[in-house]
């Protein structure tokens, strides 16, 4: 007979006990629920089409109009350099990646409040939801990226002085994964904190918006005065946006040291996000 006060793990398939470990990441069970990730992704995708009049067109209108606005304000009025790229190509590449990051962050930040109904009634590995959120956001990114490629081809056909390194395109996937990981990590940190501090939810959207101007979306890193450059080591969105442009169009880009510092920050945020999220999930339903 096993000891009474602690369960014998051999004897049971599932043991439910108070959470003691700091990190309790149950990746095998997330894998077992992979079909659910797919179903959530499909649900978000289908309901998006059913609920908006313009449907997928919206994905095209939004970045086009934003790029146009930036073109007028930052390109024409403020006269900020675009690193030798056609302004549209410059802005659209930045916007596509930034929008994906912002979507991953803000949608993950409200996981507990949006899914309270579901989380309160049925168990599944909660990590399924952030993963599906990241996947749903990918759809918009793919459409925007396709639009960017169409614009690039347009410029190439018009004979503009634009170099396109098609061979580097697969590497863009790595950048996207990095951005997804970063957006999700920050979103998870915020989601875990909003369980306790609900007012943080209001700040999220606002801070994300301001953050964009601290990232090289509407200006190139090369234009940043030397004395402010250290700041970009601490902004983990610097490297992917700059690298997207240098990979595809051969702009100067950034040095390896910024990349290393950015990756380190993202890893720390990822670990912090997973720790806080797995801690929050076991008791979130008692407070929400």
């Amino acid at each position: 007979m096993s000891s009474e006060d602690s369960p014998n793990p051999e004897e049971w398939d599932v043991v439910i006990a108070p959470r003691r470990k700091i990190v309790d990441l149950d990746l095998p069970s997330v894998w077992r629920y992979r079909d659910l990730i797919w179903m959530f992704f499909k649900r978000d995708f289908i309901t998006f089409y059913k609920q908006t009049i313009l449907g997928p067109l919206w994905y095209l209108i939004q970045p086009t109009l934003t790029a146009l606005t930036y073109f007028v304000i930052f390109g024409k009025i403020a006269n900020i350099s675009t690193d030798g790229l056609p302004p549209f190509v410059f802005y659209m590449s930045g916007i596509a990646l930034w929008t994906y990051f912002a979507v991953c962050l803000t949608n993950n930040a409200e996981i507990f409040s949006k899914n309270a109904q579901l989380f309160g009634k049925v168990y599944f590995p909660r990590l399924v939801v952030p993963i599906s959120v990241v996947m749903s956001g990918m759809v918009a990114f793919v459409i925007q990226f396709a639009l960017l490629l169409v614009v690039v081809i347009g410029f190439l056909l018009a004979g503009t002085d634009l170099r396109m390194y098609w061979i580097a395109s697969p590497l863009v996937l790595l950048l996207v994964l990095y951005v997804a990981c970063l957006g999700m990590s920050i979103g998870l940190v915020v989601s875990a904190l909003t369980v306790r501090f609900r007012d943080l939810a209001f700040a999220t959207g606002f801070v994300t918006q301001l953050w964009m101007f601290a990232s090289p979306v509407v200006y190139p890193y090369s234009q940043v005065p030397e004395k402010y450059r250290f700041f970009f080591y601490f902004n983990p969105m610097t490297a992917p946006i700059e690298s997207l442009r240098s990979l595809m169009f051969g702009t100067d880009g950034i040095g390896i040291s910024i990349w290393l510092s950015n990756i380190a920050i993202t890893l720390v945020l990822l670990i912090l996000g997973l720790v806080l999220f797995t801690r929050a999930e076991s008791n979130a339903m008692d407070t929400v």
């Binding site: 007979m1 096993s2 009474e4 006060d5 602690s6 369960p7 014998n8 004897e11 049971w12 398939d13 599932v14 043991v15 439910i16 006990a17 108070p18 959470r19 629920y33 079909d35 659910l36 797919w38 179903m39 959530f40 499909k42 649900r43 289908i46 309901t47 059913k50 609920q51 109904q117 579901l118 989380f119 309160g120 009634k121 049925v122 168990y123 599944f124 306790r196 501090f197 609900r198 007012d199 943080l200 076991s282 008791n283 339903m285 008692d286 407070t287």
Partner: protein, 427 residues
């Protein structure tokens, strides 16, 4: 250890903190922290006395939803979990289904667990029936292949095959419930946790659900079933677990469990208003309540058809007890209103109450059917709630020969007995 024990709950406790540690916003947390740092009174502590639970269940700001609960369930058992409101039934199911983590103790489970705490969890109104079957199945833990294999069976059981490609927002509530239950019922799990889901849907479908649950058990699966419906518990369950204020009060044979549960009501029957949860400004208080027959003999069990009197004792605490309205609401144990006896509808006007008084309500022929009922009491003065007690007074009614014919309407066909007479005349 015998291998046919599929669930073992060992010294399980679940405590909740009653909102002192955390106020939900960063601003308030900082405010409390600042006040504490300066040695001042925390502006956000909840004022005492608002919690209605008995003293030994709360300690400081800790509420003991479950305390030292231990039991075992064997393969193929259907365990009915019963207990009054707030006894910890739902918390137990939530911990068992891993929605919330226990505070101490542990649970061991053998086999796959499926919990059905709500019908239609995760259904999305915009999606079609077909899409929702796959979504809901995945949420409950089925793989896509499993759902595809059982898809036809699920749709047939729900009897909605011709609407399967219609968005569920166009479904009637009955169709919705049938589809949702059907998905869950086809889940291949060794252990099924069910919370009160049979309370929804029409009677024929409820029967079908019960039948399905019996099939599930004959297939060797284990069910934990929470319900207020004692008839369902008695028909379906093989064992019963009675919870009382977060502790196991009884675990054993079903009939005895149900008797135990009713005995508990017997204890709270009568003058147990002191510890009751009250709201209102307290300018007058309800101090006592009891039933009697026409001669004034106190009754503990009422009989349908009997002349009974309900006596409520009211004590005016403040001077200005004017324009009183007293009401007694009789509800089922599930909280559905059955009778509402108010001085206002009864035409009794009480302009001023200056001394302790007994209000008596006479029911010449009790029209309630046999069963257990609960009573809410309400007292207002000048339109302001003075004293309001909910679910405090429980009583039992026994079926009796209401019509003098030795016959009563069949079970499930009438909740009330009405005075009526039949006649037949030639045209």
């Amino acid at each position: 250890m015998a291998s046919d024990v599929v669930i073992r709950v060992h010294k399980l406790s679940k405590h909740y903190r009653l909102g002192v540690i955390n106020h939900g916003t960063l601003y308030r947390d900082l405010q409390s922290w600042w006040a504490k740092a300066r040695g001042k009174h925390d502006p956000n502590t909840t004022l005492g006395g608002t919690w209605s639970h008995s003293r030994f269940r709360t300690e400081g700001d800790i509420f003991r939803a479950l305390e030292d609960v231990s039991f075992e369930v064997r393969r193929g058992e259907i365990l009915g979990i019963i207990g009054g409101n707030g006894a910890g039934k739902s918390t137990l199911l939530k911990v068992l289904s891993r929605i919330t983590a226990p505070t101490s103790g542990w649970i061991g489970l053998s086999g796959r667990v499926a919990s059905l705490l709500e019908v239609g969890t995760g259904f999305h109104p915009e999606l079609t029936g077909r899409e929702n079957v796959f979504l809901s199945g995945a949420i409950l833990g089925m793989s896509r292949r499993e759902i595809s294999q059982k898809f036809d069976e699920i749709v047939d059981f729900a009897e909605i095959s011709q609407f399967i490609d219609t968005p569920v927002k166009r479904y009637s509530s009955g169709m919705y419930v049938r589809l949702a239950f059907s998905v869950a019922a086809h889940l291949e799990s060794e252990i099924l946790l069910v919370d009160e889901v049979l309370a929804v849907g029409d009677i024929s479908f409820q029967r079908k659900c019960l039948g399905k649950m019996e099939d599930i058990v004959s297939g060797g699966r284990t069910i934990l079933f929470v319900s207020h419906n004692m008839a369902a518990i008695e028909n379906l369950c093989t064992r019963a677990l009675v919870l009382k204020e977060g502790r196991v009060d009884f675990h054993g044979e079903v009939k005895e469990g149900i008797r135990h549960y009713y005995d508990y009501f017997g204890e709270t029957k009568g003058n147990n208003l002191e510890g009751a949860a009250r709201t209102g400004d307290g300018r007058a208080r309800i101090t006592d309540v009891w039933f009697s027959d026409a001669e004034g003999n106190q009754l503990t069990i009422l009989k349908s058809g009997q002349e009974i009197q309900l006596h409520i004792c009211v004590d005016p605490v403040a001077e200005n007890c004017r324009n009183l309205i007293l009401a007694a609401g009789v509800t089922t144990l599930q909280g559905e209103g059955v009778l509402h006896l108010s001085t206002e509808t009864g035409g009794l006007v009480v302009p001023h109450l200056d001394a302790r008084s007994v209000f008596t309500c006479t029911l010449p022929r009790l029209t309630l059917r046999g069963g257990y009922y609960s009573m809410n009491l309400f007292l207002s003065s000048n339109g302001i709630v003075a004293d309001w007690l909910q679910d405090t007074f429980r009583f039992q009614v026994e079926d009796a020969d209401f019509y003098g014919t030795g016959k009563l309407p069949p079970e499930g066909y009438s909740t009330f007995l009405a005075d009526f007479s039949w006649a037949v005349t030639k045209e």
